[in-house]
Amino acid sequence: MSILTFRGGIHPRYNKERTAALATKPLAAPDELVLPLSQHIGAPAVATVSVGDTVLRGQTIAQPGGFVSAAIHAPVSGTVSAIEPRPTGNGTLGDAIVLANDHQDTETSYSGLGEDWAQADAATLRDMVARAGIVGLGGAAFPSHVKLAPPPDRTIDTVIINGAECEPWLTADHRLMLESATAVVSGLRIIQHILGAPNGVIGIEANKPDALRAISQAATGTPIRVVSLAVKYPQGGEKQLISACLKRRVPQGKLPMDVGVVVHNTGTAAAIHRAVVDGRPLLERIVTVTGTAVSQPANYWVRLGTPVAHVLQHCQTELTPAGKLILGGPMMGIAQKHADIPVVKSTSGILVLQPKDATTRPASPCIRCGRCVDACPMFLVPQELGAFARLRMIPEARAAAALDCMECGSCAHACPAHIPLVQLIRLAKADIHAAARKKM
């Protein structure tokens, strides 16, 4: 099977061997769960329960706050102890529903379509996905039912399932593909049915041969193509995945659906399968807890809303001062100031680094070595964008396509002078948007 890839990108140290072979274990639910109303891209959800109500596991506790939004369900049975602003993963306070867990886990009734989901039409399937609160589990957390409803003038001919998991340290998707390969394949076929897309592709990086075998075996007898991708970061980026699998290039400023493709994460496909076949909403997800400061790294089925502090206790991890706590992977994850933030739908990993790995070296002058240019998968010139950002030359930054940057971090990873290029480019992008807003 030929190995497909894209131009640009870097080869960071993957450190996946620590958790790749560990089976996923369910994590005991904590006493208090914090479920932020805004765990997804789009409008925050609207709570449908009030303080004091008792809820069952799987019961909808918040409706989508608009078309681009997602429902939220109770991962445990218990009572609603509060609805108030609580610290969230991006460092701000956000309204959240706080559940007191009665540790009974009494479930509500679920009504799935079972195996003959193919008879149902796209609208009902899409509605089931929406009611189950499914969002992109790769880290973007974009409501899936919106992606399953492209505008009528866009015909989708291919659905790609992203099994690359190019982010170092994390093995959540890897374990999911091994442990529920049939769910992933069936999820893909459901998505193909909803979108009416004839062909389906599952892309998996070559450093997960066992997952490749499991998925190919599950996909025998179906027209689905399972391809092996080069082990390179950011192979999992949407545009890079499409160009690797289909040799198609998404035009600048356009979306994958403009070239007839929709990309979903393996976790999302499995969740869609469970929502349609068993009628189960998104209540928990696989989270890899790893890092140089974690003595017993592991993959857990963590219920949404579980505080990170609770998860760390389970792995006997003490947050040493001057260490680093990251939600997500080392390349695109967000560093946290403290651990009492909840695991949400987009949390694919909890990374805890010791001080020696956490401290960032101070930036030294740029020597124009061009390594960031070779690394950039979007073929931009990060060095120049950084200079424009520092000098607030906004029109030049826009002309140099700063908005194309997907903040994958390859440039800052490659930079020998340790210049925080992604942070600079983010500033430039914020300035460009602000300037555009001011003009309107």
């Binding site: 946290q336 100031k337 925080p420 942070q423």
Partner: protein, 337 residues
Amino acid sequence: MFTNETLLALAILGSIGLVMSVLLSIGKRIFAVETDDRFDRLMDILPGANCGGCGFPGCSGFAQGLIDGTAKPTACPPGGPEVTVLIGEIMGVKLTPGEPMVAVVGCAGDHSAAPPVANYQGLRDCRAAHAVAGGAKSCAYGCLGLGTCQTACVFDAITITDTGLAIIDRDKCTACGACIEICPRQIIRLHPKRDEVHVLCINPDKPKEVKAVCTVGCTACKLCTRQSERLVMDERLAVVSPEVKADIPASCALVCPQGTIFDLRQYALSDWILDPAARRDFEQRQEAWKAEEKARKAAAREKKSASKAKPKAAPDTNTDANAEPGTDATPSAGGEA
């Protein structure tokens, strides 16, 4: 005296000059382009700082805007009233100069008052730090002190104290708004120059949360609003309201338990923030004022109880009662943790 040589020279030069001038006059007509002379006169009177305070790219952009009518003559903050009047003369419009304004940083929580909770590493830029989990500061609204406003200020009116707080020099500040626009937390606000009292806090959270993150934050105890009508509550924040026309007595600053209210007449801003001696002096005067206030109230109460003992008056509508300190604990000395 006119040897034929000079005559010859005159002839040559004259003929060339003649030919050239004919050529130029033809050229003048072919390439005629009219320009507006007011542009140059405007450029002379504008300060030339290119600070962008008028919203135009530099002074030449502003002058061009004035000529094609898209710019308001009063829109040049550094120029202030004199420039506005001069613009009026050139453009032939009678103008009344705007009221002089000054920018004030709405936060006094430096590293000592609002200690950092995490160790921020990365760009020394407030907007960058704000985007990374709200920077290292415990308060999500407070000044990060990384100097972005300092670099943005063309008139270098802003200095960053080594305890990480921005201080604006009232005399140098020309209210051009560059710092206001660049501060990621909109802490810097424009106030009329004649205002002497400012509330140095913009954290609208509940008192419990404000106290947890900062020792000089406004905990909405409403005591200052009783000292002057000019201080009103905007949700959980005391603010000096621009509409109400009333003066603010020195007691407003003294009554505030957290020491959030800054009174220009009593202390210079840099001393108020940096000099612990000024703070101690303020706390002593606060003690003295409270003791004297308690004595005054006690005296008022006896006088009232004395008057009540004589005739059985209507139920005691003692307006003084609500003058008692509000729901919060009695205003103790200075900002306790």
